[in-house]
Assembly symmetry: C2
Homo-oligomer: 316 residues x 2
């Protein structure tokens, strides 16, 4: 159904996103050949066994030498060094892209490392799961999701078009915006929620009067929802917070102000104000379901997952 | 498979929990007759049509007059008044129980309203979905979940045993603890998470630089997880925060302290401390899955729900 967009693709970084890309390229016939590389020898060995690439290269230079597309899909703190390591081995006419959750900081580092004539298309698929590593990837990960592209001075129109075609072929919708705007939008829709989830899970784990076993047993009351994103890859998230510091601190400040207001409503028993807030937030959920970004099934459809997998059941 | 535990059951409050109880009692043959009542005329009419009760009574007094079990399943702010309204109509030997998310405040109000000789078993099923109203109920809601019972001075051993049998028959595990401990445990595992979710959804909705449509489109980055519990019933949650004020304020204080520490880690770029926290929180998720309180499927099994229902797809 799809057609080839690239001949030789190199994917550097074979975690959830890199391995899903490799699966997707193969499933949809979008490249002739995919070469993978990962900085971890252990991950390279696991990827070799999983065989979602045609070849696993031993060095970054080797992985890119024939590539007409290079995808940088490591934690954003490592992207600059990765770009440095391949700069001398790139073929003329190659397109380099990335999938990092932060754009401004990554663009600065990658463009300082790459030769000026290399086309770079900064990108970010809004897709993933709480699982990580090469075993976690699957080809349909990007279907029905958004991919954001944030062109820079080094992004040619032709390269932007090809990367846009690639994400469309993988099943995503594509939106283009400035790197700065991306970093603020994602601080709102992704970075702050993750930080809050990590924090609340930490707070609950530290309660002396409530045992760990009680937190786990009675988590269906709401807490377990937070644990999913708090189970996401620690290194990836550390790097995101360090590389999108200003936008995250700005959002944290707003969140804390709002929380102080809610705390005051409770202390002074302002039931009307609480009910107003809780009524307003319901409408947002409705919008997300209508936009096709969420299932309408109660409780994320956990019951369906349960009966298929023999896992657990439902609740708010 | 199950056997009758009660003859005549009255359920006051026909929202998600009340209607699910009625379904469960009928599906499993646990009562001869179920009479329902709701303070809202509109809800009574809808419940009449849905026909999950044998009868919908026109007044609270009528609903309880033949009952050997009365279940109070309204928002906790209304439970005291409901107990008052039925106090004069109760049959000798009746057991009264409730399903409220707060126990200490409810016990005080209910016991002030009921005659001293009536057995009261304060209870709380840790079950629900983000949907509310009589249409949202289903009989398997309590399967695989925990029901907490918090006996008071008015709880006889015989009544405690029968209510415990009831929850077991509905598929739940039962745990007994003091009302005060319940209120602290639930402040941790349920009330604080809901408050944080309501708050973050409000904060995101108020961002001037990020449009509502962007928040919705890119919500798969993490935000949409929070919107599920922030879509829960506003009145029920208002009442919980007002009736469990001290424990919730205590947890909010701890959460805010921890968040200030995380904010400082980001400002001073303490990557090691961030990574330590994020690594620690992963283990809690694992515990919840192993305890059977959560599905192991990535992303809550949203993809399964999607393919069944034609809703949305996956992501972290």
């Amino acid at each position: 159904m799809s057609q080839k967009i690239f001949e030789n693709v190199a994917i550097l970084g074979l975690g959830l996103i890199g391995s899903s890309l490799a699966h997707g390229l193969r499933d949809k016939g979008l490249a002739s050949r995919v070469v993978g590389y990962d900085a971890s020898e252990d991950v390279r060995a696991r990827a070799e066994k999983l065989a979602f690439c045609d070849e696993i290269a031993a060095t970054p230079e080797d992985s890119v030498k024939d590539a007409d597309l290079v995808v940088l899909s490591m934690p954003v703190g490592a992207t600059g060094e990765a770009a440095k390591s391949i700069a001398g081995a790139l073929k003329p006419g190659v397109i380099v892209t990335d999938v990092g959750g932060v754009k401004s900081a990554v663009i600065t580092k990658v463009e300082a490392a790459l030769p000026e004539e290399i086309a770079f298309v900064p990108g970010h698929p809004i897709a993933g799961t709480e699982h990580s590593g090469p075993e976690a990837g699957f080809g349909s990960l990007f279907e029905g999701r958004w991919a954001i592209l944030t062109p820079s001075d080094r992004t040619t129109d032709a390269a932007l078009q090809k990367i846009s075609d690639l994400w469309h072929a993988l099943g995503s919708d594509v939106e283009t915006m400035t790197p700065e705007h991306h970093d603020l939008v994602l601080a709102t829709t992704s970075h702050l929620p993750h930080l809050i989830a990590f924090n609340i899970v930490g707070t609950a784990a530290d309660m002396e009067e409530v045992t760990r076993s009680e937190v786990i047993k009675f988590s269906a009351g709401g807490f377990r929802d937070f644990t999913r994103i708090a189970a996401s890859d620690p290194v990836m998230w550390r790097d995101i917070f360090l590389n999108n510091k200003e936008a995250v601190l700005e959002m944290l400040g707003r969140f804390s102000e709002d929380l102080a207001a809610v705390q005051r409503m409770i202390r002074w028993e302002d039931g009307d104000a609480l009910q107003d807030l809780f009524t307003r937030t319901r409408a947002i959920r409705r919008g997300i379901i209508e936009a096709g970004q969420e299932t309408e099934a109660p409780d994320f459809g956990r019951r369906a997952a349960q009966s298929e997998k023999g896992g657990a059941k439902s609740e708010s």
